[in-house]
């Protein structure tokens, strides 16, 4: 078991034949992901990486039965691509592209929700179910199979955490990079119940960042509904107020969204909060051995 994606998930790639799309689709195929085709308008009918190329998502879905789309189109076209995926019956759109305008994501997410399509990202590493299905840009070899679910706003901290978990002798069920933009798709609050309900997942690691209130909402949810142990780290304890730390969403504005208040809320919800990200693996080992 795992959440959202597994070895049978059929995936298409929007922006299939572009440089990024090609490189990462190849890596995903090598990992074992069932990529069944891709979409590049104007290149329909061609073959790429041994898979069919379509002009529209609608055709791709009709022909391949794909349910998940991995989106690599340039930032200006992300909203269009997400809405097309939603319109065409894709149930999960994983948006890797970095730099999409916030206003576009506002419209795209609202529309996707209306159509019942889940989204992950934008500006994220994607989602991986260890040793089964990688939809994104993460280095697959780090994610050994195991019993720890991972949710993270940050890409490289996802790798760091997974690596620590594996070095402690454990592994990952599914890891989801949710992205650090102001508007993102699936977040802690939607993913936590999935991990709670996944029999294989025994513990959950959640990596947050300064800015916004998603981690606070997660704390409230955990308090009420999550019985599995949760380990959390919030990046940006040392970040100054009013300065944007790389991610568009990572900013402390008006004294709210600080690491401190998020850590306190999580702690109050019974989460094992680590102060240093170097202790994530150890904390997981502790809760797993209990």
């Amino acid at each position: 078991m795992s959440i959202l994606v597994n070895k049978d998930t059929k995936v298409i790639v929007q922006g299939f034949t572009g440089k990024e799309g090609t490189f990462h689709a190849e890596q995903c195929l090598a990992y074992g992901t069932k990529i069944v085709g891709g979409v590049t308008p104007g290149k329909g009918g061609q073959q790429h990486l041994g898979k069919p190329v379509y002009n529209t998502v609608k055709e791709a879905v009709a022909d391949t039965g794909a349910t998940v789309s991995m989106i690599f189109v340039p930032p200006a076209f992300v909203a269009d691509a997400v809405m097309e995926a939603a319109e065409s019956g894709i149930t999960l759109a994983v948006i890797i592209t970095e730099g999409a305008p916030v206003k576009d994501m506002m419209y795209a997410k609202a529309y996707a929700q209306k159509r019942g399509t889940m989204t992950i990202g934008p500006n994220c590493p994607g989602i991986i179910t260890a040793e089964e299905c990688k939809i994104g840009i993460m280095p697959g070899f780090i994610f050994k199979k195991g019993n720890v679910g991972l949710i993270s706003k940050s890409g490289t901290l996802t790798y760091e955490s997974a690596n620590q978990v594996v070095k402690e002798g454990f592994g990952i069920t599914t890891a989801v990079g949710i992205g650090g933009d102001p508007i993102i798709g699936l977040s802690y609050k939607q993913l936590l119940p999935m991990f709670e309900n996944d029999p294989e997942t025994k513990a959950i690691v959640m990596i947050g960042e300064i800015g916004g209130t998603l981690e606070i909402e997660a704390a409230e949810y955990i308090k009420e509904h999550v019985t599995k142990p949760v380990v959390a780290f919030i990046a940006g304890q040392t970040a100054p107020k009013g300065k944007r730390m790389g991610h568009a969403g990572a900013i402390i504005s008006g004294g709210s969204g600080t690491a401190q208040e998020k850590m306190e809320a999580l702690q109050a919800a019974g989460v094992k909060v680590v102060v240093s990200p170097a202790d994530i693996g150890k904390a997981v080992a502790e809760v797993m051995k209990k």
């Binding site: 305008p101 916030v102 506002m106 280095p139 940050s154 490289t156 568009a248 240093s276 990200p277």
Partner: protein, 390 residues
């Protein structure tokens, strides 16, 4: 990206959001000409910098004659304006906005920002005009009226009514306010703004509303389609090192400590700062080298970090995913040749080809490059090295 008050007001006028009339001036003589052109007998001379609290810092003054306009412009242009938002070092004022005096009956606050919880823009209004909205929110949250506006329906009359009557306005005043707020919504949406703040918004004796101040910030990701906004960027308002870093795809923010950091990924970069802090040190900066850490970007990173004289050690923390660590290691060696690095450099490379990378660094035999096994080890060594140098 932020713009100046005078630029925001120009944009407001284009969309029918009323503001007092005014002109920008770079010299005292230009300020006088501006006042003459505006006419009247009362002017406000306002320092144009990207920071709030200008009035308290002495950057906003009233003039009752053109001679006084000249005097004040002379005083303000070239002054180092210190406000609670500029930091103690202040900001050099290079231009003033000369505006006609306004008939202020009442002062309000009106702002617009993306509400991340509802994922919609939210408009906020308060009767506590002129006050810091964070202060009002903390002590008198009941004095702020808020409404999220679903972009799928846009600004409707009821949005305006909730705000207007929430402020306690009379019927005719409310009509004027709603017109103002509706136009402001259009400014926000059409220009990909991420923040608008009007503090104070004033009501004149005639019950009309005017933006007496204006602050605006924009979504950097949307600037490609907002060329007119992008042209308003004032580089003199930004940190030169941050601009320089941006040219190389690096995201750099200077901090006050002495342990320089070079990291791939924003989250890990923040996490590295936190680890340094946890180990008893102080990070000197935030630096995200992005997805492609090659010799050129690493060299530039070293150069930018070392431009800060406080830096006593550098911690390079790269988790190679798609990026191969052996390439980064070679990049570091090359960078060390290009840029003179005279402080200890602690290098932690993990992920793809980490073993090969360690061999490359060990074999290079450069005495000030110290290999670290993991994040905690690297942070400890970097903090110790920085302390040892003191």
């Amino acid at each position: 990206m932020n713009i100046h008050e005078y630029q925001a007001k120009e944009l407001f006028r284009k969309y029918g959001v009323p503001t007092p009339r005014g002109h920008i001036a770079f010299t005292p003589d230009e300020a006088v000409r501006a006042a003459q052109e505006l006419g009247g007998s009362l002017w406000v001379v306002k320092a144009q910098i990207h920071a709030g609290g200008r009035g308290l810092g002495g950057g906003v003054k009233l003039a009752k004659s053109t001679a006084e306009v000249k005097e004040l412009a002379k005083e303000i242009i070239g002054m180092n304006l210190v406000t609670h938002q500029t930091g103690p070092e202040g900001k050099l004022v290079q231009k003033v906005y000369v505006e006609e005096g306004a008939d202020i009956q009442r002062e309000y606050y009106l702002g617009m920002v993306l509400d991340r919880a509802s994922e919609m823009p939210v408009m906020m209004a308060s009767t506590e005009g002129g006050m810091e909205i964070e202060e009002v929110a903390a002590h008198h949250p009941e004095k702020i009226v808020k409404i999220a506006i679903d972009p799928l329906i846009g600004f409707q009359g009821f949005h305006g009514r909730v705000l207007a009557f929430g402020l306690g306005l009379e019927k005719d005043e409310a009509i004027n306010f709603i017109k103002f707020a509706s136009a402001l919504y259009t400014v926000y949406m059409e220009n990909d703004a991420e923040m608008i703040e009007i503090n104070p918004l004033i009501m004149t004796g005639k019950g009309e509303f005017l933006a007496l101040d204006a602050k605006m910030g924009f979504d950097n990701n949307a600037l490609y389609r907002q060329s007119k906004i992008a042209e308003m960027r004032d580089l003199s308002e930004e940190e030169p090192t941050e601009i320089e870093a941006g040219k190389y795809g690096l995201s750099y923010i200077k901090l006050d400590g002495n342990v320089g950091c070079m990291v791939n990924g924003a989250g890990l970069a923040m996490g590295t700062m936190d680890t340094i802090n946890y180990e008893g040190g102080q990070p000197a900066n935030f630096l995200d080298v992005g997805g492609t850490a090659n010799a050129e970007t690493v060299a530039k990173g070293f150069e930018i970090i070392l431009a800060d004289p406080n830096v006593k050690a550098i911690f390079v923390n790269i988790f190679g995913g798609i990026v191969r660590c052996d390439r980064v290691a070679n990049g570091i060696l090359e960078a060390a040749k290009i840029t003179k690095v005279d402080v200890p450099v602690i290098v932690r490379l993990d992920g793809t080809n980490a073993k090969e990378a360690k061999e490359i660094l060990d074999n290079a035999g450069i005495s000030n490059i110290i290999a670290a096994t993991d994040l905690a080890d690297g942070a400890k060594k970097a903090v110790a090295a920085a302390k040892g140098a003191n």
